[in-house]
Amino acid sequence: MLKFMAKRILDLIPTLFGISLLSFFIIRMIPGDPVLLLLGERGADPAVYEEMKKSMGLDLPIIEQYWVFLKDAFQGDLGESIISKRTVVSEFFDRFPATFELGIVALIFAVICGIPLGIVAAVKRNSFFDYFLMGGSLAGYSMPIFWWGLVLILIFSVQMGLTPVAGRMSVMFDVDTVTGFMLIDTLMPEIIKDEGFAPFFSALSHLILPAIAMGTIPLASIARMTRSSMLEVLSEDYIRTAKAKGLSVGRVIAVHALRNALIPIVTIIGLMFGSIITGAILTETIFSWPGVGKWFVASVNARDYPVIQGAVLFIATMVVIINMFVDLIYAFINPKMRS
């Protein structure tokens, strides 16, 4: 097991190196000079242009720029944002809690709804419910998040008045950032003392629609995966034996079938984290959610090289590490994998 873990950790090095290489060169292939963008539409003196280019390190040969980036990144320094002049690391961690909080809630929503729906579809195979659910999950999987987010807003916020339209918290409440996680910050003693639980409920109500929008694709994947995995397990001999022993249907499904069917589902949940982060780019734009996705879009538009490189590296590292953990869990559950 230790050998397997060491191998997986060592595999991270070329992966991250590849990601850094791609993010660095792809952004430089996109047309658009960040210095010209920064100097604005009115243009500027060529001397100012050169000076600014030098100060941003863009006058160096591209290989040298990459070397500097790699060397600094290795020391935990991802550079400074061209726009805000703040370090990429601090900019990232300012926004990461918002994305993480939303991602976790979206994933919980997807898991809580996806697994039971998948189980029911498998047990009621070829029934109306099964067809309806699989059709629905296919629609959920193919739905553009941008459109789906707006539909949710129209139904639940504008028509029914149940949830807020967008944002992370009502403007009525002024909650200081402590952890960056709104559901935690609104439960700080001084907030409860001054404003009761209203800010907490406000934060919670603001999470509902973006979490549904973001969690829809993972929900559809989890439901489909649970169904197919359950169907496979349900046709095994040991399930027939369990049924023959006279065990109740509930017990056969929950204890004998689900535990074995869960192995590929755990994998897909891990992989879904990646799609949650990419989904954040669109969800955060629609719901004015101040997270990493929205920041990333703004940085691409502004050709903020250090931010794009840093954000890609951060997100990719996170996805790779989570996948590594999924592999390790998988290996732990399934000894065949270790060999």
């Binding site: 243009g43 504008v158 967008a166 009525m172 409920f201 109500s205």
Partner: protein, 525 residues
């Protein structure tokens, strides 16, 4: 605040909260100092809330009125401006700064010298690039900034320049506190000056959460009539459809730039008010007069006759614009109403082309605007419509575009033949359009993309720039517009309309022709 939070606040909240005025803005400010920013988003968040200038534009107009300077005098040679400052103006008290004195000449000198004097200790802070200050040529125009007394400042210009006073009302000439700057220098935190603002304006900066919210409170020590609302909130909402939904659910009281597609529904909603005003802008197709065949006046006139501008306004601006005939928008004084536009006339266009020696037309390129701007919301679509119009007179057009910075750079170098571009006025002065976009100096600097240098036209606008008598300036600019029309270096396309949507209980708001959102007189009834 919906079901959950409303019930919760009724059950758990221990205090009654006053509802702030909520403005749904479109993005995050790049900084809280208009000296170092140029975008409207940053201007709204700082120049119109926190800061003030020596002079200002009268709310809803482009007329210059006194502000932090109660008066000013211009010398006989029109090169020296002496400003007398208002007494009793207090800088904001914030969490990070408590002023010990009122505004005086030192603050004015600090604010201007930071941008003008390259050796000033604050010049290099935040990059040392002052796009507007240099863009308006203030670095070359000003030769001396002098403190005459504690409340008197003298500015000497290199040459007489009538639009100078309008430049002084622009956001980048905002007055910052020298005392605050000195405090930051002592602490070694100079860069904070651009992000933790201290001004004299009607609102005090309270808090900014990136990409989320900006909070302001009313300046209770304001020297003039105080703001009507005690709390002002900018709720950052980039998507226009979402802004509209927030307006409908009362999460915003006023929204910036509603989507043209939503305007009809907004106007039909009895709970909302849609305000509109003519924008201070022009979208145009410039012809490179230094390149063949556009050096030929008849070719330029033929193109003017061939373009069906009304169809562009209907299809691209969705009717939210007016067809342009002059390089100046009609909101600017000296706009010449009498100028007659080239009518859409294919037959006449063909005969002019024949007269120019191109009976079968020719091949050319149109550079289409790669970005969305109020003066041209869809350059590609407009390019396709122009392509179809010009094909009718035998001109075969290839559409070309580049990324925005490259587009501008190449345009300044004059690599194009036909190019779509536009301009939004900065200070409401005709010189800001005619001289920048069509003057002979603009050919060298690259802002005159038609590369058209007409001596008569240039003499008129230069003369108008030197006199401060408005009546004379009007006459000169009106004449200049006639020459422009006759020589046809552009086909002016459209002037877009500015829209704002708000709840019906919002009172005291006016559309600013310069595009800003100003909240001092706004209230909720």
């Amino acid at each position: 605040m919906k079901l959950f939070a409303v019930i919760a606040s009724m059950l758990f909240s221990t205090q009654v909260l006053a509802k702030p005025f909520v403005y749904c803005s479109e993005g995050s400010p790049t900084a809280f100092n208009p000296q170092v920013t140029t975008d409207g988003t940053s201007n709204n968040a700082s120049a119109h809330t926190i800061y003030e200038r020596l002079v200002d534009f009268k709310y809803g107009t482009t007329k210059i009125v006194p502000k932090l300077a109660k008066s000013w005098k211009v010398s006989k040679d029109r090169k020296t401006y002496t400003f007398t400052l208002r007494k009793g103006v207090k800088f904001h008290t914030t969490k990070y700064f408590t002023p010990t004195r009122e505004l005086n000449a030192d603050d004015v000198l600090f604010s201007f010298n930071r941008q003008w004097d390259k050796k000033h200790p604050y010049h290099k802070v935040s990059g040392g690039h002052y796009e507007y200050f240099t863009g308006m040529d203030m670095n070359n125009l000003i030769t001396k900034i002098e403190k005459v007394g504690p409340y008197t400042v003298k500015i000497v210009l290199a040459s007489p320049e009538a639009p100078f006073i309008a430049n002084m009302a622009m956001s980048f000439m905002s007055i910052l506190s020298k005392e605050y700057a000195d405090q930051l220098t002592k602490k070694g935190e100079m860069e904070k000056i651009d992000n933790f603002p201290v001004g004299t304006g009607p609102f005090v900066y309270k808090k900014y959460k990136k990409d989320t919210i900006i909070r302001f409170t009313r300046n209770e020590s304001y020297w003039g009539p105080k703001a009507k609302v005690d709390k002002l909130v900018f709720s950052i909402t980039p998507d226009p459809s979402v802004r509209y939904q927030k307006l409908k659910t009362n999460e915003c009281h006023l929204i910036i730039e509603p989507s043209p597609a939503d305007l009809t529904a907004m106007k039909a909603n009895s709970n909302l008010v849609v305000m509109q005003g003519a924008g201070l802008n022009v979208g145009y197709l410039a012809m490179n007069t230094q390149k063949k065949p556009f050096d030929n006046i008849n070719v330029r006139r033929a193109i003017n006759h061939a373009l069906n501008k009304k169809s562009y306004v209907d299809a691209i601006y969705l009717g939210n614009a007016m067809v342009a005939k002059n390089p100046l928008p009609p909101t600017i004084w000296s706009y010449n109403k009498k100028v007659k536009d080239y009518a859409y006339n294919v037959k006449k266009a063909k005969s002019l082309l024949k007269k120019a020696g191109y009976p079968n037309g020719f091949e050319t390129e149109i550079w289409t605007l790669p970005v969305t701007r109020p003066y041209n919301p869809n350059g590609k679509k407009m390019g396709e419509m122009m392509q179809a119009d010009l094909a009718k007179i035998g001109i075969k057009v290839k559409l070309v575009t580049y990324d925005w910075p490259t587009y501008l750079k190449k345009a300044r170098e004059g690599s194009h033949q036909l190019i779509q571009l536009g301009w939004t006025g900065d200070n409401g002065d005709p010189d800001n359009f005619l001289n920048v976009l069509l003057g002979c100096t603009g050919v060298k600097s690259g802002s005159n993309v038609a590369r058209w240098c007409n001596k008569k036209f240039n003499d008129l606008i230069t003369k108008a720039k030197l006199t401060t008598v408005k009546k004379s300036r009007v006459a000169l600019y009106e004449k200049a517009q006639k020459i422009f029309k006759k020589d046809a270096p552009w086909a002016p396309i459209a002037h877009s309309i500015i829209f704002r949507a708000m709840s019906k209980n919002v009172k005291g708001y006016k559309i600013d022709p310069l595009g800003g959102d100003i909240f001092r007189t706004v209230e909720l009834r």
